[in-house]
Subunit: 368 residues, 2 copies
């Protein structure tokens, strides 16, 4: 892995704007952390997989900035994005008498970022936090935009807050330790930005999918940068998801149903989104919004990215029921993010019968 | 009880500004609710004491605005301002498939308001809510300003959010059902506004304390209006408590220690604040910030309001330990809100030994 030059994406949220730093060797460099609040206390929130790899290095570099740097290691995985685990962050902060200037550092993937961000939003009604994403999915998607949440037994990300980090530090070197399957899951969110916003980027991903899977650092740097740019533009225009921002959920309505229906953690979030994009593209095509050719194109690209493209078999009623608790639903009507010509997304509802056909066309054959 | 003319206080928080309506007969009047979001679903959150008195009336008037009006009755009291009880609000919303346009109505005192507001801040990352305070304390203080929270075993209001309501409806008629002791507790927060911001109002309260305790509706209307005006001005200048807003916590540092030390719910919040103001005034006087005469003046007024003025006996170390987890503390140093000349408050730390003397001077003799 060669080193990549530092790239910087600044998000446009007025007085709550912040930088996303993208590059190699960022974790250990003092300059990475310059300008962040230098409070007495800091808490690194990580998980049992990531903490042994990187927590000590982060602690070492932060020791120059904070009098005390605590570390909390949470259980790894979406199944632990719960109120009970969130409570452990509060307990740790209060046990150690951390005040409301304490800075929280989220060192991990989307689950750690979402929980740490939500804890930061609520602890003493808000303390600063910094995202240090260690998965591709978190670097290109979940660490940017200020959505934080925990899951509820009845639905994913149901309890949360819009709360912006002070900075996002995407050290591409940290992706070296990422399991193959999680790299693929992250690529699903990279692919997503093509159909909804940037056909040229979609072409680029297709041309570079092998380099990305081989973790070529320049390819990763471009993928992370372009993804963060698109996400920042959309979020800057609609922070609280009154409209436009919802397009970032392309593939997520079907995807959330897969995750919830199979039990959180059985499918990775990115895997469910990849498959969900295929379903959403199919629905878009059947509604006459985009060319039918987008569907096989996405199937091929998802396969090349190492993602599953067949949905799990679930009764239609179960699918519909799971999608009705989606946050985008209004008065019980499911709202899908659909492709309205390549590079443009819209929110639409669709007849249940058509949705059922789409699901049937892309579901795995039942296990005998 | 005669009827009071409608008074309106508008808070100045830009695009999140809202009206506080103060008057008689507001609950049942359709006009009270005009202009609020008319979503399909609404949830009234109340408690087991207030719901039997008023929930049905609120439900009746809201039925004209929402397709479905649900009611949830929580256990009454500060001891129930917990994560577990908060979860019941989320459970109810999700059980009934409430979407993110659902309006929450907080019908109750400070506990119901704080929990409902926090649930509204977090449910699907934010739904609208309306405060319908049924206690004097909630009408003059907790329902205004957007502070929401739950308690943690290690400290009061440790987990929460700044989240503004759409409207605050202060129906003075609802105060008729308020127990004497809770009326007194509410008067503590009314008295508070005098020393920190308005000596003329302090004179007025002294002159009208009997009318207030007799629930004279014109006296109540003025007390609620002036309290809300002062609070709105302070909050408008400093919504997120970076400085000025902390003056609203006059009496609260000592007060929170009393509440936590005695066990939440043993002393009412307002009772603890009343006693806390006496201690904070004493500390102010001993630091030479204000005239010593303020102390007996506050003691007399609190007594006239029916409030306890002697602090419970606790070891000094316990007091200090409890006050160090106060959210205003910084790096373990306790920060007090002190009176710096009548009508003006400042934030200051003070030597532990002096704080101990102040506590000793105003603590009840130990029970033999």
């Amino acid at each position: 892995m060669t080193s990549a030059s530092l790239r910087r994406v600044t998000t446009g949220l007025g007085d709550r704007s912040y930088d996303i730093l993208i590059g190699s060797g960022l974790l250990d460099a003092a300059a990475t952390w310059d300008g962040l609040p230098a409070s007495a206390d800091a808490l690194i929130v990580s998980n049992t997989t990531v903490a042994p790899l990187y927590a000590q290095r982060l602690q070492a570099v932060l020791a120059a900035r904070h009098r005390r740097v605590l570390t909390l290691s949470l259980p790894d995985g979406e199944a632990h994005k719960t109120a009970a685990v969130l409570e452990r962050i509060y307990d740790t902060l209060l046990e150690h008498g951390c005040d409301r200037k304490t800075v929280l550092y989220a060192l991990g993937g989307g689950v750690v970022g979402d929980m740490t961000g939500f804890a930061a939003a609520c602890y003493m009604r808000g303390v600063p936090f910094v995202q240090v994403p260690t998965t591709l999915l978190a670097q290109v998607d979940s660490s940017v935009g200020g959505k934080t949440a925990i899951n509820h037994p009845r639905g994913k990300n149901m309890i949360g807050a819009f709360y912006q980090p002070q900075r996002v530090v995407c050290d591409l070197d940290l992706l070296r330790s990422l399991p193959e399957r999680e790299l693929s899951a992250g690529l699903a969110e990279v692919i997503k930005y093509g159909p909804i916003a940037d056909p040229v980027f979609l072409d680029w991903i297709e041309a570079n999918i092998e380099a990305l899977r081989a973790r070529d650092v320049e390819a990763l740097a471009h993928a992370v940068q372009r993804s963060c740019e698109i996400k920042s533009e959309v979020v800057g225009a609609d922070e609280r998801e009154s409209g436009l921002r919802a397009i970032l959920n392309f593939g997520h309505t079907f995807g959330h149903a897969i995750e919830a229906g199979q039990g959180y953690g059985v499918w990775l979030h990115g895997e469910a989104v990849g498959c969900g994009m295929v379903l959403a593209a199919e629905l878009s095509a059947r509604l006459g919004l985009c060319e039918a050719a987008l569907v096989p194109r996405l199937v091929r690209l998802c396969e090349a990215a190492g993602l599953p493209v067949r949905a799990p078999v679930m009764p239609t009623e179960r699918w519909l029921q799971l999608m009705r608790v989606d946050k985008k639903a209004e008065a019980g009507e499911i709202r899908f993010v659909l492709i309205d010509g390549l590079g443009r997304a819209v929110m639409r509802s669709a007849p249940d019968a058509l949705v059922a056909e789409v699901i049937a066309a892309h579901s795995a054959p039942a296990v005998a």
